[in-house]
């Protein structure tokens, strides 16, 4: 997302600014643009369609109520939404695990197997999924583990360090190297497909 300072009417930052004023139509548009993105992530973390839809509703209700607190200096609206979706999904995952440990597949399993879910445009989604999957698979194991523990299991860097028995500095470096490699791999793949 470029040009936050000069928002277009349907630019995400502009929609969020209107949502902050209580604009129902802007909320509807923001939902249409990004609910699919959020739901995909939530389902990937939770693997329970009913719970995922509940979390999706919670996340967007939070967006409606907290839009005035969005600060463009601290990231794009999509990142703001993705982080909320991730946090809420992980909160729910932990609550579900506490209640019924067998209910949710382990995160390793969730990440290892490609989800068999209906998509809006199966062709495009499969292509993209393949791209991200192959980019993730292409990471050295140690980096992939850090990225996945952070993103899909919601651990902080010091928690990851404790889990893996590695120094905190190593975890920080791996997170950075992992994301950089992921970015470069996806860029290369994207360019090749164009």
């Amino acid at each position: 997302m470029q040009g936050v300072d000069v928002p277009l009417s349907d630019a995400p930052a502009s929609l969020l600014a209107r949502i902050a004023q209580g604009d129902r139509d802007a909320f509807s548009r923001f939902y249409d643009a990004f609910a699919g993105l959020a739901l995909g992530l939530i389902r990937r973390i939770l693997r329970d369609p009913g719970a995922a839809e509940e979390v999706l509703q919670e996340v967007f209700w939070q967006i409606w109520q907290e839009a005035p607190r969005y600060d463009p200096l601290r990231g794009s609206p999509e990142a703001w939404l993705v982080m909320r979706a991730k946090t809420r999904a992980i909160d729910r995952l932990r609550a579900m695990r506490r209640r019924e440990k067998t209910f949710v597949a382990s995160v390793d399993e969730a990440v290892a197997s490609a989800p068999d879910l209906p998509t809006e445009n199966p062709g495009v989604a499969a292509e993209r999924r393949g791209l991200v999957r192959s980019a993730l698979d292409g990471l050295p194991e140690a980096q992939r583990r850090v990225v996945e523990l952070a993103f899909f299991e919601g651990l902080s860097q010091s928690e990851i360090a404790r889990r893996l028995g590695e120094p905190l500095g190593t975890v920080k470096t791996r997170a950075r190297l992992g994301l950089e490699r992921l970015r470069n791999a996806m860029r290369r793949e994207g360019e090749r497909q164009e």
Binding site: L39, E53, Q57, L117, A125, L155, R176
Partner: protein, 262 residues
């Protein structure tokens, strides 16, 4: 802070994995408008978004419908609170005990010169009237708050009821929560004939329909009914509306007008 460190913080921030102290340091950089920090973050955010977008999928329409209904209910509840507050503001001075005492004293004084009874009655009637008005607003507020509570619970489902041949243009919408019950709103139903009313049924699988309340509609076919939760069993999976004798019947006998599945 050197560039490597900034990029490292940006990666952890984009993954949502920074510990509190690091997060505060990085946010301080962002807030100060640090160009490197912002550029690194933008870069990593795009990668994280691509990872998140990997499995993007269209959500079922019910989620959005429930959200928009929550927003509308919140709006209405705010309106009701504002109306109630403004009514209380205008009525409060007359209703305060001190004022009532003053009014009483004044009435008594005037009664002493033989016109007091009339004045006192006028004030009593006015106070009664305002009391009733406030009670009505309080009831309306309670109803709206109840609705908002239902709507705010993510477990609430929205069920669309479609019109059957008896009234093909009729529509219904049920907000349903297994533990607290729900609210059905209909439109386009023909007004019930004399001695008849619409009855709502909650149906669970192959079990016999359970009566869930009787309601009528106005001239536009608009009706609404608050529905109690259904006790026991797996809970209803289908709701239906039939035309029945006005008092309601224990098992459906008349034509079915609306039906919808959870």
């Amino acid at each position: 802070m050197n560039r490597d460190e900034i990029v490292e913080l940006a990666a952890g921030y984009a993954l949502g994995a920074l510990d509190a102290e690091d997060r505060a340091r990085f946010e301080a950089l962002l807030d100060a408008g640090d160009v490197e920090a912002r550029a690194a973050l933008r870069d990593f955010e795009a990668t994280v978004r691509d990872v998140a977008a990997e499995t993007a999928e269209a959500p079922p329409p019910a989620v959005k419908a429930a959200l928009m209904a929550r927003i509308d209910a919140e709006h209405r509840a705010r309106g009701a609170v504002t109306r109630l507050q403004s009514t209380l503001r205008t009525t409060a001075p007359r209703r305060s005990p001190r004022t009532i005492v003053l009014v009483g004293a004044m009435a008594a004084g005037i009664a002493a010169i033989a016109v007091g009874l009339v004045v006192s009655t006028v004030y009593d009637r006015r106070i009664d009237q305002l009391g009733r008005q406030q009670m009505q607003l309080q009831q309306e507020l309670t109803r709206q708050q109840e609705l908002v509570t239902i709507l705010q619970d993510p477990a609430t489902r929205v069920v669309a009821l479609a019109g059957l041949p008896a009234a093909p243009d009729a529509r219904g919408r049920m907000l349903w929560h297994a533990k607290v019950g729900g609210l059905l709103v209909t439109q386009g139903l023909p007004p019930a004939p004399e001695g008849k009313a619409y009855e709502l049924w909650a149906i669970s699988g192959k079990a016999a329909p359970v009566p869930a309340g009787v309601f009528t509609v106005d001239a536009r076919g608009v009706g609404s009914i608050r529905v109690a939760p259904v006790e026991g069993g797996a809970g209803p999976d289908t709701f239906a509306v039939t035309l029945e004798p006005a008092g309601g019947v224990p098992a459906p006998t008349g034509s079915m007008y609306l039906v919808g599945k959870l």
